[in-house]
Amino acid sequence: MVFKRLVIKPNSYHDSIVLMRLARTVRNIDKVVAAQVGMATGLNKDAVREMGFVSQELETATANDLIVAVVAEAEDAIDNAEEVIKESLEGSARQEPGVKAAKIYATLSEAASVGGAGIAAISVPGEYAAREAGEALASGLHVFLFSDNVSVEDEVRLKKSGKEKGLFVMGPDCGTAVIGGLGLGFANKVRSGRIGIVAAAGTGLQQVMAIIDRLGEGISEAIGTGGRDLSKDVGGITTFMGLAFLESDPNTAVKVLISKPPHPSVRDNLIRMLDDGAKPVVVCFMGEEVGEARRSRSGKVLFAGDLEEAAILAYQLATGESKESLYSRDELDEMARKVMRRVDGGGYFRGLYSGGTLCHETLTMLRRMGIDVYSNIAQDRRLLIEDPLESFANTCIDMGEDYFTRGKPHPMLDPGMRVPRYIAEAGRKDVGILLFDVVLGYGCHRDPAGVMAEAVREAGRIRKDMGQGLAQIAVMVGTAGDPQGLEKQAAVLSEAGAEVLSSNRAAADLVSRIIKAQGGTRQCLR
């Protein structure tokens, strides 16, 4: 005889690894023949039907509901399975001894009803994110939407709704924000100061904040917008709201805007708005050529060519002190000489980034210096690598891109996921320079440099066996206040044999100096 049990939990979200683990545990129960655990999507419901389940409840279940189906040869096996399911899904809030338990709410509206909160940080699979964001807005909360895979239509709808209510929708795919001193997503511990930032790019924002902090200034607010905010469809709703907020914020003296180049129609309105403001503003449209005219019509808007320049201009405006760059020409020359001694035979450059913005910046910087670099995120189609697992000539890969992170942690959470590729690149005879980023801060891995240091050491061993040198360069994005410890992290990488820089622009500059010294600039296009 066969016994069956179907459990449907409406609006129940669990980490996919938790669900995989639960499915495995249930399948391992004695006399359980089959078990299916997942969201009640069409495909999962088909799978449950194939197990022989027919019910109205199943038919009406939506993709927001968790579905657990168990088939067993004995009734007690079903009971055991149900017990396990209950314990796994509801017992996850079990507190450790001595640790004050966090209150777990079943739904966002339940949490919002308690009161006292101002922002809802949402990180659920994209297909459910819009609904939760809608609920947050309905409850009067600003939204920090970490989730990606939210449709443009939903984004526009949410942002318009938020604007009507005077609420921010930061995201979707918003990696970083610092609001009222509270870091959201991947955020650095930055000192409080007079520079307010609106940014469409998570790691770009982190790089600018980290440099400002290093220079001794601080941040008033850092508002994330999500990567599509300045597109024609979205029209820059959050960006405009953010800049308007900073304009009226008494703690903000200088505004900074970081984004990919906006749609021309949005760009014009944006610059007009900034020109009309009273506070100076630094704008960095990543990848856009700045040219000679580095100021807007009113002179209030300064255009920066890269993230480091944006940070330094903002610092100058906020403090009145002059600063040209984080690293002087002499320092970079010295570093290049030092690294060149290790490269001996020359070789191609390979960059492996966890942050897409930094990868993009490196491509832009090297292109400006006349060096073609292939990439999985290249905008020049001739330089676009179709198979991100392959490298060709000089190559820079964004390993935080969807291709690499589907079903896996982002490299900022698990820097180890870059290590196999790093080791493989080190083993290639035609490679002479390896570059990678290490991003510190809350939300990131607790010892990213430690993990990459092992890769640096292993790469060094491999090259020693090959009888060849290798330049290993790290960009470290972080502040002295970050939980990982900036100096300690940099020292770990340095000891392993990497040259560590705090600015991605400087790292790209260093790479270009090495390539040029080797006599190679423009690589042949395929």
């Binding site: 995989m20 180890g416 290590v419």
Partner: protein, 303 residues
Amino acid sequence: MDMYEQPFYLTAVSHGREFERVLKDRKTFKVHSVFTHAVNLVAGSGFLTILPLGRGCGKDVATVAVSERFSFFALDVSPGDEAGMPASCSLWLGEKTVIDFSGSKGWRSPLEAVNCLHTIGDENMAVLESALASKHNDSVFSRGFKFNVNSEPAACGGVIEDIRRTLLENDREGLEKALAGVIGFGPGLTPSGDDLVLGISLARSVFGTPWRSKGSIWEACVRRNLHKTSDLSAFFINRALEGCAHETVERALVYVLTGEPGEAKDAVGRLLSVGATSGCDIGLGIYLALNWQRRYAWCSKGW
């Protein structure tokens, strides 16, 4: 904010051939033992080991990308936990840790590169000897042992001399008796005696002809004594008889046999720093086997 809430997600960087089999067959293992820098898995008499990247690979080893400071105890994996692969390329350790093998590269033994070896160079033997002599107090076997590469290995009056003599006399019973006092001798997961035998066995495997090894008294006597030690240590010795060991051991042997003296020195230095005495005992085993090969060509005489 703590990103280390369960489950752990680790990335495998390299894996040996036995792991390839596991990946293919999705065989289920149990966690055998957990150490700060290693997790051992067991299925029947077969073992697999998971190590941090910087600690080298091997036929039965997979390396994972973690920092030097990382402790496997943090994984909350316990002996007896199940280790299996419900999905391709993902190895679960217990219920809280998953190791992703999708980017992992197959590991090749450095011994594969050793071919047609006829001579064992004086210079590299002297490197090995000098390194061992400087650490002779670290191993119970090398204490009192007089290293001299250019002369008959001096009798240390102990078990090493018994092994040498019984081998020279082709005395199966005597060798077995001598090995009975070595295998399983000493503390630890891999007792000192086992490490010595492992070193001898691995070095011998480079010169031995596999199809004749079954009839050789060394292999036969070692195998007959393996029940006297732990399953894990017996497994490592068995692998050494087949010509496999951990990368650090293989590299030391390869560089002593074929490398430049500088390379040999580095590799031997790394070997001798393994464990409390393991590296020194294995190194001594390698030294003895190579010395006897130079002197008596014992590996090719059916001993």
